[in-house]
């Protein structure tokens, strides 16, 4: 195994492209190191992208923010601007692991790890965040929702890696929230999760919404039917009931050591309800 610390994205892309064997990108390393420890993967090349200028930066752009792929959860959580604009995204990232893990883990890494239970991803999908991807042929942009395709699998080509994630600007009277269910208060993988992003009109009616679910299907799932359930409503009981039903209907979970199909399906709806109410309140609505 070799270890490289490239100084530009081009250099990194070149290193990865030239490597015939297995490559792993290291930013926070909180997944890669666990894989190394367990012997699950034995990479031939580790590429540490933290020393590439810009990859640890949070930059305002078009009213939104571009988050470098190597920005840790702790760094993101300390950024008042992102916190104010996309609180649900930030709270999702901050739920990954412990304080110690927060010191290292990144939003981009959480996405690229491809876990259906990734805490950062539902919020990003609800936010319609855009990932910037570097590859042998240069950069491309791709909606975050299109990156995961199954447990541990993404649409990234072999020599591609994320350099940043863009969180867009949003209209006034918008809010988002993320909730997950875990058996303990910390340190667990999500058993079910929901993120809701919405925008209200002056009367408190939902004019735009995106709802994403985690840990209830092979990938993080955007649920348009759940968004439709609350569009045009003021989160009255009927809208909430429809939201919960749409979320439960969208679940295709598994039974495993962390939860049952029945539990995940039921709790996904509950979390969506609670997240929607928080997002609504953040957007300035009062139920």
């Amino acid at each position: 195994m070799r270890f490289a610390q490239p100084r530009t994205t081009e250099e990194a892309a070149g290193l990865i492209a030239q490597e015939a064997g297995l490559t792993r990108i290291l930013s926070g390393g909180t997944d890669v190191m666990v894989q190394l420890k367990s012997g699950l993967v034995e990479p031939d090349l580790i590429v540490d992208i933290k020393h590439i200028p810009g990859l640890r930066a949070i930059t305002p752009e078009d009213g939104g923010f571009r988050i470098g792929a190597a920005v840790s959860g702790a760094e993101l959580g300390e950024h008042e601007g992102v916190r104010a604009l996309w609180p649900g995204v930030v709270e999702g990232v901050e739920l990954i692991g412990s304080t110690q893990v927060q010191g290292r883990a990144t939003m981009a890494g959480n996405l690229c790890n491809g876990s259906p239970a990734a805490d950062a991803v539902p919020g990003l999908v609800a936010a319609n965040a855009i990932a910037r991807i570097m590859g042998p042929d240069g950069e491309r942009d791709c909606p975050v929702a299109e990156i995961p395709v199954g447990p541990g699998k993404t649409t990234l080509a072999k020599a591609e890696f994320l350099t940043s994630i863009f969180l867009p600007a949003r209209p006034d009277r918008s809010g988002d929230a993320y909730l997950r269910f875990i058996p303990r208060t910390e340190m667990d993988i999500a058993v079910a999760a929901a993120a809701v992003s919405l925008t209200l009109d002056a009367a408190g009616t939902v004019t735009a919404a995106r709802v994403a679910l985690g840990a209830v299907a092979p990938t993080i799932r955007l649920v348009p039917a759940a968004a439709d359930a609350i569009l045009g409503a003021k989160l009255d009981d009927a809208a909430i009931a429809a939201l919960m039903e749409a979320c439960s209907a969208a679940c295709n979970p598994i039974d495993d050591k962390r939860g049952t199909i029945e539990f995940r399906t039921q709790v996904a709806g509950v979390l969506a309800k609670r997240a929607a109410l928080i997002a609504y309140s953040r957007a300035g609505g009062t139920v």
Partner: protein
């Protein structure tokens, strides 16, 4: 696997070591630098016994490659006391019987120090959530929380 030469700073002292590319910072500290205060309880970032600071940020040293320490500033439990003067947290842990077997204690002290640097006056709930990644199986955490709060109070009034 060709070893890597690393120059770094540990507890303020310049240190050089060589390590394998896949060797964790925890293994480097324990096996190459003789700093066995950081413990391996899991090796997967779930127990916090290997907590150190890396450039001032609290991390699990089992989730850091030794090679990443190049040019960095590493802080371990061995650097907590100032010579023979214990850090207030260390004294409070002894005074409040906040340890039994003591295997988690180095990690908890390093983590608690990082907390109090960021938030000198935390609530009990904030202490509990900050330390959620530091498993202790002996104490039930109660006396640990008291000790951290005792140290925080004394450090504020110092």
């Amino acid at each position: 696997m060709k070893s890597i030469h690393v120059s770094t700073t540990v507890n303020g002292d310049a240190v050089e070591f060589i390590c394998a590319p896949d060797e964790s910072l925890l293994d480097v500290l324990r096996n190459r630098l003789g700093l066995t205060g950081a413990k391996e309880g899991c090796g997967t970032g779930d127990c916090g016994a290997c907590s150190v600071t890396l450039n001032g940020r609290l991390v699990c040293s089992c989730l850091v490659l030794g090679a990443e320490a190049e040019g960095a500033d590493v802080g371990t439990i061995e650097g907590l006391a100032n010579g023979d003067a214990l850090h207030q947290l260390q004294q409070s842990f002894i005074d409040h019987a906040a340890l039994q077997c003591g295997i988690c204690t180095p990690g908890i002290l390093v983590a608690a120090k990082a907390l109090l640097e960021k938030n000198p006056d935390p609530t009990d709930t904030e202490v509990r959530y900050w330390l959620a990644g530091n498993l202790c199986r002996c104490t039930g955490y109660d006396k640990i929380i008291h000790a951290v709060q005792d140290a925080a109070q004394k450090m504020r009034s110092a």
